[in-house]
Symmetry: C2
Subunit: 359 residues, 2 copies
């Protein structure tokens, strides 16, 4: 198979985990006889420094000319004080919008072998295997341009949470389709006792559910969901929710694995062009130290191989190798403790490659 | 001391825990020689059934003529399908707005003696003692009336997140004042990388902080906060945040205690009239079974005695008694397991009263 992959390393540890991804992809290409062509693009703080724009047109073109996009992470304190047009997240959010990446899939699996590093008790984690489906191109993130105004001398700020029916329909459909391949349960999270957008969300969820009689639909208020995710995460199969709730719940859910460095994601569009990125950010505090956990990125590569290229065998091989590496007691700094030596980013990638060769 | 207390039991277990509160208050009145006059008001589903209005004017008048308001919980499936004007939360939210209860204080303390019931590991919980200060009368809950509209045949819904500077200032001031009496650290939670209202929030937080040089200010993004609350809750002293983020984070934080039935709250206004209520809801599934945990309500009574009546000794006595009851191994159903007999609501109230007499 021959595929073109756009690589957007971004800032901070984004660059380091991207190197790991490339390394892994090269070894997969060799082993399974594929050809992956890589094209690098600028995004985020680095792009601002070099071009004055967090998402240069050229980067968008590189993405559009590729079969899949792999993203590292963007941002850092250096760019936090930028004027609005240059804010790093304008790069990321614009990219999501331009490629219409409306469905952000964030699977959360608890690995027994690293359960000791989760703040949660082992019996709570046992068997946790859930998928958060986050709406990614609507809601508060993309309402009417936010604004400041002055009335009678008082300053105020407003953001708008906007959804139309079609935006809700397609993300809920996506969740139901995914649930069908899993344990056939969808938990739709909203705040329908307060928000009009949530009430519409609930109506649409009911309508979509009627087309999937084999899948169970449950509604849950977001405050309750934030509690239930910790109280008994096993109850969840697929969670579908709007943009900001999904942002909050998925970071929270990372604690089921012990580290944000474990969570991959796929952002799907209606076209065949999808984007894959770790859930974690650019982690400026550990950037450049070769100690970032590359697993979230490697699992994102697995998601790309599966969803974009239908390379199921290769995807499974990565996931299995990661599991085996953890079972052998090897970990990066975010998961290490006095009983476990801590591996560098590069060493962790090597371990996964070796485990793939052995499996 | 002679005080008039408005009692709004509401629906479901709200009624049962309110009975416990009255019982407790009577015993305190006797023991410490106070006179508490109680006046009952209707709110929520029960108020709809009897008057057609979830917050009858009479209830508001009862509240305004009292020295403090004690609320149970409102809502239940029976009223979920009501037309908009009758929605139960219109009662609760309107009450908050009418009494200008802008500062919702939600303290979270982990009791070592019930740590076994938390999904979190004991070492994570050790010494957790944090206070969430939630803005309660602004944000998405009270933006321009939410609306549905139809454009080119497509339905859409919008909610608005609105804050003016004064609303943010007063809640942040409240947080700093409270932090001064505690461990002198304020974590302000926002989503300033995306929301304009959050950027204003951050600016105001900085301005207020400059008046409290003895208190440390830290900014944290809400997604990260949702993670850090579970990862290392000990790092927090006072958390201040807007309405909806506070709603989500405080329910999540309940897991640090093992049960939502443990969390009290105080809702303060700029006047001398404040409201106290457990964080939990009306729990229709266990309503009427005499098995609800009355501790959140009893701790809310303690907050009332302290904040509204300056009865520090009495407040401390309740808190200490609750602690002792848990230490003696007694628990309600939400916290019980095979090693602990489960007490009824009434029995739990009796235990706390007896422990107060013994202490
Ligand atoms: C950087 C930020 C805008 C982004 C988001 O909130 O979507 C990040 O937190 C994420 O989850 O990908
Ligand atoms: C019932 C609901 C409107 C309310 C809220 O979200 O404020 C509740 O969840 C709470 O936290 O008091």
């Amino acid at each position: 198979m021959k595929k073109k992959i756009a690589l957007l390393p971004g800032d901070g540890i984004g660059k380091e985990v991207m190197e790991g991804a490339v390394d892994l992809l090269k070894s997969i290409a060799e082993h399974y006889h594929h050809e992956f062509d890589f094209e690098y693009g600028l995004i985020g703080g680095g792009a601002i420094d070099q071009t004055g724009d967090p998402l240069p047109d050229e980067t968008l073109e590189i993405c559009k000319a590729s079969d899949a996009v792999l993203l590292g992470a963007v941002g850092g304190p250096k760019w936090d004080e930028n004027p609005a047009e240059l804010r790093p997240e304008k790069g990321l959010l614009k990219l999501r919008k331009e490629l219409d990446l409306y469905a952000n899939l964030r699977p959360v699996q608890a690995y027994e072998s690293i359960a000791d590093q989760s703040p949660l008790k082992a019996e709570i984690l046992e068997g946790v295997d859930l998928l958060i489906v986050r709406e990614l191109t609507g809601g508060l993130y993309f309402g009417k341009p936010s604004e400041r105004s002055h009335h009678n001398g008082e300053e105020s700020a407003v953001d708008t949470l906007f959804y139309n029916r079609n935006e809700i329909e397609r993300i809920i459909e996506t969740a139901f389709k995914l649930a069908r391949e899993r344990r056939k349960k969808v938990t739709s999270v909203d705040k329908a006792n307060v928000l009009e957008s949530s009430r519409m969300w609930r109506e649409v969820a009911e309508e979509v559910a009627s087309k999937y009689p084999d899948v169970e639909l449950q509604h849950m208020l977001v405050d309750n969901a934030a509690m239930q995710l910790i109280r008994s995460p096993k109850q969840f199969d697929v969670i579908v929710t709007e943009n900001m709730f999904g942002d909050i719940l998925s970071d929270e859910a990372s604690m089921l694995t012990g580290s944000l460095g474990m969570l991959p994601s796929a952002s799907l569009s209606e076209s065949s062009l999808h984007l894959y990125e770790p859930v974690h950010g650019s982690a400026p505090d550990i950037a450049g130290l070769n100690k970032a956990n590359p697993v979230a990125m490697m699992l994102s590569v697995a998601m790309m191989l599966r969803h974009s290229f239908s390379l199921e065998e290769e995807a499974n091989a990565i996931e299995l190798a990661v599991k085996h590496v953890f079972e052998s007691g090897k970990r990066t700094a975010d998961l290490a403790d006095k009983n476990h030596e801590s591996l560098t980013t590069k060493a962790m990638v090597e371990e996964v490659k070796e485990a793939m060769a052995d499996d």
